[in-house]
């Protein structure tokens, strides 16, 4: 599905990785491993086209993501470190405006099902600023759930989540995989996934 060919990334004069190649098939869960500053976030941002790599290619179904942009973005969802939540919008409006960027129009009932799943069932009218940071992350989980994307790119998805939240994330990933979807993620917390998992190791530094 997604194929990465000899990627190189330099940040602030430091070579983070080079000649990195791997691929992600359908129903595959891939963990990007590496210590702090090894370039995990940069790699994920490169994978979803937010950042340009120094060298290398990223192919989506055999075509580069820049020439296959529309199809790629319709089938890929990314969540990063930042919450993407507007304090002045209600939970429901926040989910809606996130879905709007993907041109998805869903009914209130559909969104409420997802909010119930992430444990925010009674919160639809609560403004974002009244939520704790864990609850904000849960909105993002609802967004991922509703995104209809085949590929999930999750950067530290467990940040600020409590024990139930972590379990929820784990079960969502398993479910997504069983439905034929793929996940690429990074984490510093132990994620116990009851499925086959591949991994990519970053952080062997060399000079060019």
């Amino acid at each position: 599905m997604l194929e990465v060919q000899s990627l190189e990334c330099v940040r602030d004069d430091r070579l983070l990785f080079s000649d990195l190649s791997f691929s992600v098939a359908e129903a595959e869960v891939l963990q990007i491993e590496g210590s702090n500053g090894s370039g995990k976030t940069s790699l994920l941002r490169i994978l979803c086209g937010l950042r340009q790599a120094e060298a290398g290619k990223i192919l989506w179904h055999g075509e580069s993501i820049s020439s296959n942009r529309e199809d790629f973005y319709a089938n890929m969802v990314y969540i990063g470190h930042l919450p993407c939540i507007k304090g002045d919008l209600t939970v429901m409006e926040n989910v809606r405006s996130l879905l709007d960027t993907r041109s998805l129009t869903l009914t209130d009932a559909q969104i409420e099902v997802a909010l119930t799943k992430v444990g925010l069932q009674t919160y639809d009218d609560v403004p974002g600023k009244a939520l704790s940071s864990g609850q904000r992350r849960r909105i993002l989980l609802a967004f991922v759930e509703l995104s209809q994307a085949k590929l999930w790119v999750l950067d530290e998805p467990l940040t600020a989540l409590d024990v139930q939240g972590v379990a929820l994330m784990e079960s969502m990933i398993i479910e997504h995989r069983e439905a034929g979807g793929s996940v690429i993620f990074t984490t510093h917390h132990g994620m116990k996934l009851d499925c086959n998992m591949s991994s990519v190791q970053l952080g062997k530094k060399r000079t060019v």
Partner: protein, 223 residues
């Protein structure tokens, strides 16, 4: 695509309306700066009238400049900007939606309050309509060109002064023709030429600035 434009425009308007106190700030600034001139120079109507076009236009320009910050800052800080860039819709359209919202929230109020300031500055009534038309054509260009500047500086710490440094030189043609339209109108002469020029620049900015802003946003995201 039109739906994406409409949804984002609506979201920005809704966000602004929930923060009404911020909404009024550029407007108050505009009125305040214009008020300073009679106090600093002289309240003599003749002198004020001669200065009025320049003073009002420069103040409008500064008011827009100060408000540009909110165009992308919040979205950049909370990560929404990344989501916009990952949209299957063309980024240009989304940029256009954000700029439209910005103009409706700052440019348009400036146009509406301008006649009052004309009154403050003893501007003859013939010139007031020229002031409205020139602001109506000029302020969207300020928002469009400003968007390029903000998208380049939004990730820079304390980018405010930097923003004015890179944007103000680009605003000069609008200032010249806008202020001159009002000046000429107060002498009772026709201003079609000036307005046509402003219209032409608006058409150019409308077609090129969203593209440049989209490229700039991708550059900003890529660090």
């Amino acid at each position: 695509m039109l739906k994406a434009y409409y949804h984002l425009l609506l979201r920005d308007l809704r966000l602004a309306l929930r923060n009404r106190h911020e909404l009024a700030n550029p407007l108050i600034f505009f009125v305040l700066v214009v008020t300073l001139f009679p106090l600093a120079v002289t309240p003599t109507p003749d002198v004020l009238q001669a200065m009025a076009p320049g003073v009002i236009w420069v103040s409008a320009l500064l008011a827009v400049l100060l408000s540009l910050d909110r165009l992308f800052k919040q979205d950049y800080d909370d990560g929404s900007l990344d989501q916009l860039m990952l949209s299957p819709n063309p980024l240009m359209i989304l940029v256009l939606a954000k700029v439209s919202a910005h103009w409706l929230l700052t440019g348009l109020p400036l146009v509406i309050i301008a006649p009052l300031l004309g009154l403050f500055m003893s501007l003859p009534t013939e010139a007031v309509s020229a002031l409205i038309y020139s602001l109506l054509l000029g302020t969207p260009v300020l928002s469009l060109v400003g968007a390029i500047g903000v998208s380049l500086t939004v990730a820079v710490n304390r980018g405010g002064v930097l923003l004015s440094l890179i944007i103000l030189p680009l605003y000069i043609p609008i200032l010249i023709f806008g202020a001159n339209a009002v000046d000429v109108a107060s002498d009772g002469l026709p201003v079609t030429g000036q307005l046509l020029f402003l219209g032409a620049v608006l058409a150019l900015a409308l077609s090129l600035a969203p593209l440049a802003t989209a490229v700039a946003l991708r550059i900003t995201a890529s660090r």
